[in-house]
Amino acid sequence: MTVSTAAAPQKTPRNRSTVRAMQNRERILLAGFLAAIWAITTALSPRFLTPANLSDILVQTAPLGFVVLGQMVVIIVRGLDLSVASIMATVAVLSTGLIDNTAVIFVLGLMLGALIGTVNGGLVAYRRVTPFLATLATMIVLQGIRFAYTKGAPGGTLPEAFRWLATGDIFGIPVAPIALAVVAFALHWVLERTVYGRRLKLVGTNPDAARMTGAPVRLIVLSAYVISGLTAALGGLFLVGYVGIVDNWTGRGYELDSIAAAVIGGAALSGGKGSVPGVLLAALILVSLFNIVVILGLPIEWQFVIKGTLIILAATVYMKRRRV
């Protein structure tokens, strides 16, 4: 076959960049933003750029980082998981309440997370409930189960090994960010380098076209919620490990923070877009902002103003860039 643009010979093509180059530029933008706020804060306060504080930021990023990974996967398939915070608390309350062996707590927690994710995904993919409603309902049901189990006051102590996972370090590097890095790397590989990952993004980009190319659309949508259940469970366990107390409201606010981080990190609510490095950078930005507000002694309420502004900024910047 030969080219058939005879109507327009030798026209300079409009300067369009490749899909990958566009994604890379978005990530560079985020990294630049993070570097900028770090630089400004360093200039304003000597207490910011210290090994102890940076380590703190990384450890605090871990729980949100886990949750945002799953949230991103769900957003890629045009969904939304409002139940992540409820999963975090419920998993933490139930698994630490039932067992006091660290390994078993993790296994049980992950199973619970996967189970809840299966319910969410089943409702969305097979019963065609909108993601918003399905995960909202799950969130409320889980809350009820949690309170019924604890009768309002969760007790139980956390095993030492469990605490170490969230707060300890290996050769000075905190454990929690290492765990996050391992999970993030695995997920990144799955998304970018496997047939499953390719299909997941295609399903999010255009479910009808994906179905016609033989993708098991419903199964893939279901799997996204299972992944979100798993990462929310991990996030919950690392968060209680860090705080040291199991609380019925563990992870409160993480549903919105994780959505915010996913969107700032380049995931589009219209589906099909999202990258692990992007959303992790965004999670790091959100946690850094919180840290900066504390370090600079600003009123704590300011973090919300900054966070909201950031979401609007991200949304408008992406809208402008993507509408080519």
Binding site: M1, T2, V3, S4, T5, A6, A7, A8, K11, T12, P13, R14, R16, S17, T18, V19, R20, A21, R193, T194, V195, Y196, R198, R199, K201, L202, T205, N206, D208, A209, A210, R211, M212, T213, G214, A215, P216, G272, R322, V324
Partner: protein, 508 residues
């Protein structure tokens, strides 16, 4: 000389590097009907969008009532008196006829509420003037396709001072009787002094109702003048720009087809729709012809397992009990869908990833995709299929329709299909790419592949297919082979009036 109501003066439009229209001269006079002809992708709809202000011209200008105008918004042209009836319906099913006609311009009571009595009354007057016999209170979703079309026209002409009416393929969904009725209405409008632009592929109709004709090919006007100076053949050659023989490769010899590949028996697509049976053999290109809405796409999608159905589908004598697109793909049956945008392409995704969507790890690993694998594979697109793209990492939306279609066909071929179902394989594709696609399809058939091709373009069905099933109202009305495949035979069967036609609401 009389001044035209609406005119294009050396109008040009380009999208990026693509020059869609170049120096178009086009005039519409009041009381006359000008046919706008051209193949799909020739630039007809772009011209209409320029005339009505949906697009801004890259060069040249639009003239209205002798004055140069610059529409910045389609509402301005609408307010000036240019009405368009698009091919896709814009009527709302949940509203009544009257509500649809005056949507957004309802008569109000002095409290600012909708004055229902005046609404109904005004609608009745409009309908009567146009000679349309519909109740203003009828719910639009209960109407037949033809009646919905009438509501569209009444809506377009709701104010008294319309000057131009643009009809984009108005008869695509109409039966013969309904078309005749539409023509009476059109004649009435001409008497009222309205200037008409009539876009249609059906040459018979054009010769019946139009006074002038303008033919566009590849974005330039190839000929225009009073209809009297033209014949069917001269219009076709102006549209196509070449003879049939150049466009289509020679067909397979009669009886050359091999064993039966696909056999469909008593397939019922939806309750109440007649069952359909057909077969496709090795090395054969079988056409599925019929009007828009005759159920061709529905049948194809059911065979492919994209929509539920009952009946049996066998591939090489093996029944396929569990039908889904992925099951069909595994069995060697692949489908090209009608709408690239809706269920064909992943628009903002790269060319390479679109190409490898069905088989991401093809040739490397069943579950993993090595780095750079898809880019390396996609380079073959340029070499083997001649897809014009600078970099396979570009979003596929950057490609022209013809190149997008080539990517999709190349994607299907990656699975080494034994049977291909192609729904409108040349829609929105320029002539050069069309000829290439025809050659490719014939080449595949010669290698033993079985092909089932749906097409709304009769010239394509006649020129390409070895055997043709003609569909009407959801059933296969007849089968044509060899010399009996002619445009006339197909149209006679496809457009015949049947008892079930009125009230038919499904459309492709």
């Amino acid at each position: 000389m009389v001044q035209p109501v609406l005119a294009a003066r050396s109008l040009s439009k380009n999208f990026g590097p693509n020059e869609v229209l170049q120096g178009i001269e086009f005039e519409i006079f009041s009381g006359r009907a000008v046919a706008l002809c051209g193949e799909n992708g020739a630039g007809k709809s772009t011209l209409i969008k320029l005339l009505t202000g949906l697009y801004a011209p890259s060069a040249g200008h639009v003239e209205f009532m002798g004055e140069k105008v610059v529409w910045s918004d389609p509402r301005q042209s609408l307010a000036a008196g240019i009405a368009v009836v698009h091919q896709e319906f814009s009527v709302l099913g949940a509203l009544t006829v009257a509500e649809n006609i005056f949507l957004g311009d309802e008569p109000l009571t002095r409290f600012g509420l909708i004055d229902r009595r005046r609404l109904t009354c005004n609608a009745r007057v409009r309908l009567d003037n146009l000679g349309i016999t519909l109740s203003p209170d009828a719910l639009v979703e209960t109407l037949s396709v033809a009646d919905k079309q009438m509501v569209e026209i009444a809506k377009a002409l709701r104010s008294e001072d319309e000057k131009v009416l643009i009809l984009d393929e108005p008869t695509a969904v109409l039966s013969q009787n309904e078309t005749t009725h539409l023509f009476r209405i059109i004649a009435g409008l001409r008497e009222q002094g309205i200037g008409l632009i009539y876009v249609s592929h059906r040459l018979d109709e054009i010769f019946e109702i139009c006074t002038d004709i303008t033919v566009i090919k590849d974005g330039v006007v190839t000929t225009s003048g009073p209809i009297g100076g033209y014949t069917h053949d001269s219009v076709v050659s102006a549209m196509v720009g070449r003879e049939m023989g150049e466009l289509f490769p020679p067909k397979a010899a009669v009886g050359a087809a091999g064993t039966v590949v696909l056999k469909v028996e008593d397939l019922v697509v939806a309750p109440g729709v007649p069952s359909a049976s057909l077969s496709v053999r090795e090395g054969e290109i079988v056409g599925l012809a019929g009007l828009v809405g005759s159920g061709r796409t529905e049948l194809a999608r059911a065979i492919y397992g994209a929509d539920p159905s009952s009946g049996t589908v066998t591939l090489f004598g093996e029944p396929m009990p569990w039908r889904s697109p992925s099951g069909c793909i595994d069995a060697g049956m692949l489908m090209l869908t009608e709408s690239r945008k809706d269920d064909g392409l992943f628009m903002e995704t790269s060319v390479a990833r679109n190409f490898t969507a069905t088989t991401p790890g093809h040739g490397a690993h069943p579950a993993a995709v090595p780095p750079g694998h898809e880019e390396r594979r996609a380079v073959l697109l340029k070499e083997r299929m001649g897809v014009a793209v600078d970099h396979v990492g570009l979003p596929i939306s950057a490609l022209s329709g013809g190149n997008q279609q080539k990517v999709l066909i190349a994607r299907l071929l990656e699975n080494r299909p034994k049977l291909l179902i192609l729904d409108e394989p040349t829609r929105g594709v320029d002539m050069g790419a069309k000829a290439e696609i025809y050659r490719t399809l014939r080449h595949l058939a010669a290698e033993g592949m079985a092909l089932l091709v749906i097409s709304s373009e009769l010239i394509e069905v006649v020129g390409l297919c070895d055997r043709v099933y003609v569909m009407r109202d959801g059933e296969i009305a007849t089968e044509l082979t060899g010399e009996t495949i002619t445009e006339e035979r197909i149209m006679t069967v496809a457009a015949a009036e049947t008892a079930t036609h009125r009230g038919g609401t499904h459309h492709a």
